[in-house]
Structures are given as structure tokens and as C-alpha cells.
Assembly symmetry: C2
Homo-oligomer: 197 residues x 2
Amino acid sequence: MPADPSERLLEFLQKRAALSREEAVVFAARWSVQRQLKRGDYLCSIGKMEQHVWFIAEGLLRIYYPTDTEEVCVGFSYEDTVVSSFPSFIRQQPSTFSIQALEKCTALGITRTDLYVAIDTWPAVAKLWSGLLEQVVTGLIEREIEISTTTPEQRYHNLLRRAPYLFQRVPLKYIATYLRIKPETLSRVRRTGISAS
Amino acid sequence: MPADPSERLLEFLQKRAALSREEAVVFAARWSVQRQLKRGDYLCSIGKMEQHVWFIAEGLLRIYYPTDTEEVCVGFSYEDTVVSSFPSFIRQQPSTFSIQALEKCTALGITRTDLYVAIDTWPAVAKLWSGLLEQVVTGLIEREIEISTTTPEQRYHNLLRRAPYLFQRVPLKYIATYLRIKPETLSRVRRTGISAS
DNA sequence: CTGATTTCTTGATTTCAATCAATTTTTAGG
DNA sequence: CCTAAAAATTGATTGAAATCAAGAAATCAG
């Protein structure tokens, strides 16, 4: 894992997209917006127009939307993942999400125009984009099903199994909103160490 | 609105994709699987591999997944919409959804291979596909937000405003599961005719 | 048209997680 | 290292919708 963000992006692209080395280098160069975030900083805020898709080279962020009374996490992003406020980016509408660094982060961004030009230029990039959207779609659907078919306790155990690393890096109060339960409930569920099926 | 399913598909494609008339005709011809469904028939069932994306030329269907105790509707499809068990179609895994006709339906299907060939052949089809996926993504996200930020009553009024036609065509018990409430609750919410904000 | 089945409504009761209210523990920044 | 702020825990209580239980109304197939 290279420390250099661009090098890391290049590896990511070559692993994920059917691009030649040269194409990958050219495409990677279009991810020209570098952001350094410290804990608490925002990559995107409610109401702002999302102009980029971000590659996270380092760090961890939460993606959330606010309600009257709390902030509900829809997901987390970390090293070697791609994140954006997709509905805002796709439709060019004000974002309904905020994306906040929970750790010091390094992100590389590509603009909307650059991305769509790349999609039109390289079929492999078009494929990468559809693949990413497909992943988002299947992820959202699976998540919706899980939330509505499982108990808070099951969801906790499922997440613990699928993504134990989150519990090392994310305050439980954010994990709680991601599981659609209150921190108090999560605390109680953890105490009674009932094992998952 | 033409009665002929193929003609209807052609109109749909020309409206939605930047295809020339000739391209549209050639692409439309790949939607070669025609299905006639009567009330109660299935376009896709749990556990089956979804092999097609379907264009609905006529009729109305519900898309749902089963839980221990009920069937939860994730959406409806009707004339001039496209439907599939997307996660199954995309990943070629057994479907976690069933898609059932609530009325007599006519559907035209394109196979996975035919679709992906078309995507690779015509940039406009690739665009159509990404556009469709983008629509699914934004729809799912908005829905997730709505479900977790609104009361059953608000959701009922929102749906009544956005899609009044569903109430003409779909039994309330299916609408209830779509709103993530029990039929009894929906009934009570409808009785107390409190108007939406 | 008509009887059977499905769907919808209404009432009584229960339940699971939310809320409210303090502490205790942990963490981060000076 | 120390202290203030943030996060987590624990207990008591509440509440909104689910569940349970009949009936009434609508619909569909023969």
C-alpha cells in the first residue's frame, strides 16, 4: 500500500478497471483535486452541490443525513473506496448528505465533467462507473432488506461479523444510527452477549 | 399510446435514449422475450436467476421480498417502466425478490447477454443503462430517507400525493407493506383524514 | 347473479425500542 | 500528564405501532 495518494489511486484503478497502464495513468491524472481533511472536516455538506467523486487514499468518513433530532449514518468510507453524495452528483441538486471525516483523511477528487468525458472516452471507465453504480444499487437494496427483516440485535451481530474493523475506528454512537437504533439500545445489545445465529 | 408492445417499447426507447430511429429499431428487436401474465402470475420468483430486464407495455406488478411473517413491497412497476430483480440480474445470484402481476400484463424482456452486448455496441445504450441505474440509486436513497424520517401518516399522504393512481389499482394491503406499516395501521391513518403539511 | 373468498375496518391489548435522566468511562487536546 | 469534553452505560418510564381478534365490505369466479 503506497503512501502516495496518486500511486494508491493508480493501483485501485488498475485493480478495478480494465484499463491499460497508460490509460490508467491518464485517467488517474484527472483526479486532480486533492483534499486533506482533519477529524471533523467535511468533504461535502448538506445543501452544497457535490462536484466530485472522491477516492479515499487514507482515513475514514461517515456519510449521513440529518433529521429533526439526530444524524443518521447511511455508510462509511475508508481507504481504497470511492465516495460521493451520489444523488447530488448525479442530478446536480443540493446535497441531502454530509460527508465528514472521522479521522485525518486524504481524498482525491474527479469533477463531474472530467468523469463524464472519461466515461465517453474509455469504455473501461464507463464499465467502472456502471459497476460502481451497480454496487451502490445492490448495497442499498440489501441494506433495506436487512433493516426491515432483522432485529437490532441481529443487525449488530451481522455488522460485527461483516465489518469488525468499523468497531475499532468508529464511535458507537455513529454505528448505532447506521444500525437504525439508539446508542442506548446498542449499548444494551452489546452487554447481553447473545451470539448470532 | 400504441397497443402493440413493440411499438410501445420503441417509443419508450426513443424518448429515453439518444438513439437514432434505426438504432432504436435494431435495439428494440433484442427485446425478444414476450410474456403475457395474468393476475397472480410471476415475472420472477425468489431463488430463480433473473435473466432479463423487462419493459412493461401493459399492466401492473408488485416487487416484494418475503420475511418470516409477510411480504414486503419494495415497489411497483407499470406501463412504460422497466423492471428487473436487479441484484440478481446484475450479479447473477438467485433472486431475493418476487415480481408478481397484480393485473394482466404484457412484458418484453431483453437477456443479460443481449443487453451487455448492446451496452458495449451503442454508447447511447450504455448511457441509458447508467441512467437507469442512477435513477434506481437516487430512488432507493430517497426512499430510505423518507422511511426513516417520516411517520406512517406522513408517508401515506406523501404517496397519495406522488402516486394517487396506485390507490386505484393496488390493494391497500400491498401499499401498506410498501409504506412499512401494517394494513390495520394504514386503515386507521386513512380514517383520521388529517391532511399532509 | 350469487356465494365464497379476499380485503378492509375497528377495537382491545401488548411489546419493543425510544425517551428521559443520571452516572461512569474514555478520549483528545493543551 | 492532566483536565475538560465526548462517549458510553445503566435504570426507569413511555409511547407508537404491532399484534390479536372479530366483523363488515368488496370482489371475483362460476
